[in-house]
């Protein structure tokens, strides 16, 4: 049998200490078994054994060769370091301070998992500090270990509101992210005919990009569990009437749930200040690289009221006392709500989510402090408005919404895929940054399928990483492309 043949040949692998034949023999002697195959036969019926070696590539045993192999494949990528990118739409390029990388790369945090609260005191405290710091930005008092991404956080938050109110309908304006809306719809759908949550869409004002309050009010009813909106919304627009949205929700006895980009919160009002009951959002901008989408890190926060806390699916790290006066310890609040205890009766589920990114975000918020968050918000506002103004001046381009943070749609007089293709092959002309000459531009995300009413529009994202030179370069390149 193949299994027996494989056992005979030695194969010492650097990741497997007990692959050394003498050691294996000694262990088998202690066990009182002849070999692995014999032991497997005791546990797994023969009909279910694969019975042949797997057909896989030969291993690359040298680390140097492995590195070359992977690097060679990855050299076919172009990163936003090489190209100038204007993509956002849920994942954004911001500068990541080196200290964030240093801490997120620390062996202890990188490789810890489910240890005890004494032996992993530092992990618990870092989790608690993430909760504390994000709460300061949001004006809230409770948060938990972050979840997968903004969309999952919004899905959980909406379901919290449904359980809180006992109602089964949520109102969502059409200016939220379509990807997040798809995630929310999955969370709201149900295999049970009677427990489905209805998602009703609300218009947005085509003139401003903001929630259409009249339409919202006409759809609010005693069936409404929650209004979920985003600020800034997917189209980048600041929801100036956020307080009116939450007032309208509250007037109907509904919860107000709002998703935010926390990097805006040095300059934008805290959601708690305009009546939001449950805040959620995406922490990736706070010191986490994009990782081709792998940097996502969703959070949920609320006031410190028992009725909210009882509905969280997340692990909620709680500060505690120890046997020594003045010393901090940690544990988990209302742990029995979680799926680890309550299984199918839990509040949704919790699992391995994004704790490491939460720690990186805690470092980021600690580094920037109140002044850094304000200045960064100002920089992003000014730069994104500068870029928008430059593009709006171009023949064949128009920026429809004027009140935005970081992202804004640009409507062109020709299809976005044509514009983007031309930009990608375009060396920056007229830019002051000589180093960028000859490199392509990755244009904004094509909105024409998701938002046909905006015409041939793309969602542009401008952050602190975009210099005056590259923004002027974009305007020059677009002038040429649109000519």
């Amino acid at each position: 049998m193949a299994e027996c043949d494989m056992e005979k040949e030695s194969f010492v692998h650097p990741y497997i200490p007990n692959s050394v034949p003498e050691i294996k023999r000694e262990m088998l002697r202690v066990i009182g078994a002849g070999g692995a195959h014999e032991l497997y036969m005791e546990m797994i019926p023969e009909r279910l054994l694969l019975g042949r070696p797997m057909d896989l590539p030969e291993p690359i045993l040298s680390e140097l060769d492995l590195r070359r192999h992977v690097e060679s494949i990855l050299s076919r990528n172009k990163s936003t370091d090489e190209y100038v990118s204007y993509l956002g739409a849920g994942c954004w390029r911001h500068y990541v301070p080196k200290v964030c990388e240093e801490i997120a790369g620390r062996s202890e945090f990188l490789t810890a998992y489910a240890g005890g609260s004494h032996s992993d005191l530092g992990r618990y405290q870092a989790n608690f500090e993430f909760q504390s710091l994000i709460c300061e930005l949001l004006g809230m008092e409770v948060s938990g270990i972050p979840t997968y991404d903004w969309g999952s956080a919004a899905g959980n938050a909406v379901r919290m509101a449904v359980r809180l109110t006992g109602r089964r309908e949520v109102l969502v304006p059409q200016n939220v992210s379509p990807a997040r809306l798809s995630i929310i719809r999955n969370f709201c759908d149900s295999a049970s005919q009677t427990s489905r949550i209805e998602v009703r869409l609300v218009d947005y004002d085509p003139a401003t990009g903001m929630v259409d309050l009249t339409d919202l009010e006409s759809k609010l009813s005693e069936d409404t569990a929650a209004v979920y909106f985003e600020n800034p919304n997917y189209l980048g627009v600041i929801e100036a009437e956020g307080a009116a949205v939450s007032d309208a929700a509250h007037d109907c006895g509904a919860e107000c749930v709002c998703g935010v980009d926390p990097i805006s919160l040095g300059v934008l009002a805290a959601p708690a200040d305009y009546g939001v009951d449950i805040a959620c959002g995406e922490a990736q901008p706070l010191g986490i690289h994009m990782h081709a989408g792998g940097g996502s890190c969703g959070f949920i926060a609320s006031r410190d009221e028992e009725r909210y806390v009882a509905e969280y699916p997340l692990r909620l790290v709680c500060v505690a006392d120890t046997a020594v006066e003045g010393e901090y310890g940690f544990g988990q609040a209302l742990y029995e709500r979680t799926s680890y205890i309550a299984r199918e009766n839990a509040k949704d589920w919790v699992g391995t989510t994004t704790a490491l990114w939460g720690i990186a975000a805690a470092v980021y918020m600690s580094l920037l402090g109140p002044q850094g968050m304000r200045e960064l918000g100002e920089t992003i506002l000014q730069k994104s408005h500068y870029a928008a103004a430059r593009l709006d001046e171009l023949e064949g381009a128009r920026v429809p919404f004027k009140t935005f943070f970081k992202e804004f749609p640009v409507a062109f007089d020709r299809p976005v895929d044509e514009v983007n293709e031309a930009l990608l092959g375009h060396g920056i002309i007229g830019g002051k940054d000589e180093a960028l000459l000859g490199h392509g531009i990755i244009g904004g995300k094509d909105l024409s399928a998701e938002y046909p009413e905006l015409g041939d529009a793309a969602l542009y994202c401008v952050t602190e990483v975009h210099s005056l030179g590259v923004m002027d370069g974009l305007a020059a390149a677009l002038r040429e492309v649109l000519a």
Binding site: M43, P59, V70, G329
Partner: protein, 511 residues
């Protein structure tokens, strides 16, 4: 073997807010250039008045070295897997994550997930080939997605596929799923989130497994499918698993295999031969990506060709030698997470598999399994320890300290606080309910040497001996960890719990 006189770092580190000094700065962001400012004016004017921040967020103010020092101290007070013999944390497969893979994963740090496909061929190739070359052969499944960003999310993904499949087949009344109590809690909680009624099978007290008869009684015209872990959390492999999938299929249901911990069966037994329609692996467990203090991890969901069209969008496909993102999937369940999931995790797992090959993967499985038999020989000799149920365990085993508790008053919670004094992480006990009293679940995967296992067993044995000779010593533990025993009992008390510094200050009257 002598146990070490370990002592954890104990910095008595304050909460970061307590380290704040007004005016200090850790980082200065870039400012807009004068020409930019001249064109758009002050930032405040760009925000509608009602949405301007009125008061600065209550973030701490620290210089850069002070922030770094604080978090370095916190990291030191964390007993990460790389620091110690982490085989006590079973069901989690705390294996070594090769350091070189960290550098390789960082190569996609600045790639945006919505870039044009032609600028992402490298990362798309790795993701596609990892499924097509490795996972297809390892599992026998046909098509893969990594969009679910964790194991439980993979299980949820499969519940959504099950829901849509039956609806599309005109059988929306199928709203019940079956699981077993020793399957991971996600096998119950995520189908429940998707709206399914969950029927849980309990084990025979002798074998540790539910009977096949119990499954037959549980299925019927409302059965949507089964979600089962195998080997179960107990380390026991269900030998009738192919008969089980046959029963569920005969009843019209689908079968989802929880292979989060497939470490001891790589190249040994597969989902396809066991009759499953879909599965998920945890790439942060079996496939070596680091656990990250609890994420980011990743599921790899595999499905048979019959279910491929239900995968979440986009699906990474290969056409004419190029890798593409396919959104045109009318039957897709839509999205379970934004973008394509945690591709840096997939990248690490790809690199790990390339370094292993077929023989290395099989060797990892065998070493894990043999390690567990060896560990069992040593643990079963420790006074106070017992092993419920009969038969060999594959990758891990759920042991009990019930006897120790009865004879000394020292239970697993006490042992777990004491074992850390010997430089060994607290053991994983069990998911709930604790059918095995005072449980612990070691999983000595292939990373651990014979000497590692000997040390770990010596540490456990030392603590158990202490329980008999000096139980108060164990109950008062830890003595050499980063802090002392938590005595707080307000975790369920709204008046006293505090999940943020601002709540803590308010509740303790420190404002």
């Amino acid at each position: 073997m002598k146990v070490r006189e370990y002592h954890a770092p104990r910095w008595s580190e304050p909460i970061i807010h307590e380290l704040s000094t007004r005016g200090e700065r850790g980082f200065i962001p870039p400012r807009a250039e004068p020409k930019v400012r001249a064109k758009v004016g002050p930032a405040e004017g760009l925000i509608p008045e009602a949405m301007r921040r009125r008061s600065a967020p209550g973030l701490p103010e620290l210089s850069q070295a002070q922030v770094l020092r604080h978090y370095l101290r916190l990291s030191q007070m964390t007993l990460g897997m790389e620091m110690e013999i982490d085989l006590g944390v079973g069901t989690c497969t705390m294996k070594y994550s090769p350091k070189v893979n960290e550098e390789l994963a960082a190569l996609i740090a600045d790639v945006h997930p919505l870039q044009p496909e032609e600028t992402m061929q490298g990362v798309l190739e790795i993701a596609y080939e990892f499924g097509d070359v490795f996972l297809r052969e390892i599992s026998g499944m046909d098509a893969f997605t990594y969009q679910p960003p964790g194991g439980s999310a993979g299980c949820y993904n499969n519940a959504l596929i099950m829901r849509k499949y039956h609806r599309d087949n005109g059988e929306p009344e199928r709203d019940e799923v079956v699981t077993t109590i020793f399957s991971h809690p996600c096998d119950a909680a995520t189908p429940a989130t998707a709206g399914f009624k969950v029927i849980t099978l309990y084990p025979n007290p002798e074998t540790g497994l539910p009977s096949t008869e119990a499954l037959k009684e549980a299925v019927g015209p409302r059965t949507a499918g089964i979600f089962v872990t195998n080997p179960e959390d107990t380390g026991i492999f269900n030998k009738n698993i192919d008969e089980w999938t046959g029963i569920v299929h005969d009843a019209g249901g689908l079968c989802s295999y929880d292979q989060a911990n497939a470490n001891a069966i790589l190249g040994v037994t597969r989902a396809r031969e066991a009759g499953f329609d879909m599965l998920f692996f945890n790439l942060h467990k079996t496939f070596s990506s680091p656990h990250g203090s609890s994420g980011p991890g990743s599921a790899a969901v595999g499905v048979t060709s019959d279910l491929e069209e239900y995968l979440p969008v986009p699906v990474i496909v290969k056409r004419d030698g190029a890798y593409r993102l396919d959104y045109d999937r009318p039957k897709s369940i839509g999205k379970v997470r934004d973008f394509m999931g945690n591709l840096q995790v997939v990248l690490r797992s790809y690199a790990w598999c390339m370094a292993m090959g077929a023989r290395g993967l099989r060797e990892a499985a065998e070493a894990s399994m043999i390690n567990n038999q060896y560990l069992a020989e040593k643990v079963k000799r420790i006074k106070g320890v017992s092993l419920p149920f009969t038969g060999r365990r594959l990758d891990q085993a759920r042991w009990s300290l019930e006897k120790l508790k009865e004879e000394t008053g020292v239970g697993v919670a006490d042992v777990n606080r004491r074992i850390v004094d010997y430089g060994v992480q607290s053991m994983f006990t069990s998911h709930h309910p604790w059918l095995v009293p005072e449980p612990f679940t070691p999983e000595p995967c292939e990373t651990y040497s014979k000497a590692d296992i000997d040390y770990w067993c010596a540490a456990l044995e030392t603590v158990c001996e202490e329980a008999y000779s000096d139980p108060e010593l164990v109950k008062a533990a830890p003595h050499r960890s980063s802090n002392h025993r938590v005595v707080f009992d307000g975790f369920d008390d709204p008046e006293r719990w505090a999940m943020s510094w601002r709540a803590y200050k308010r509740k303790r009257g420190k404002d």
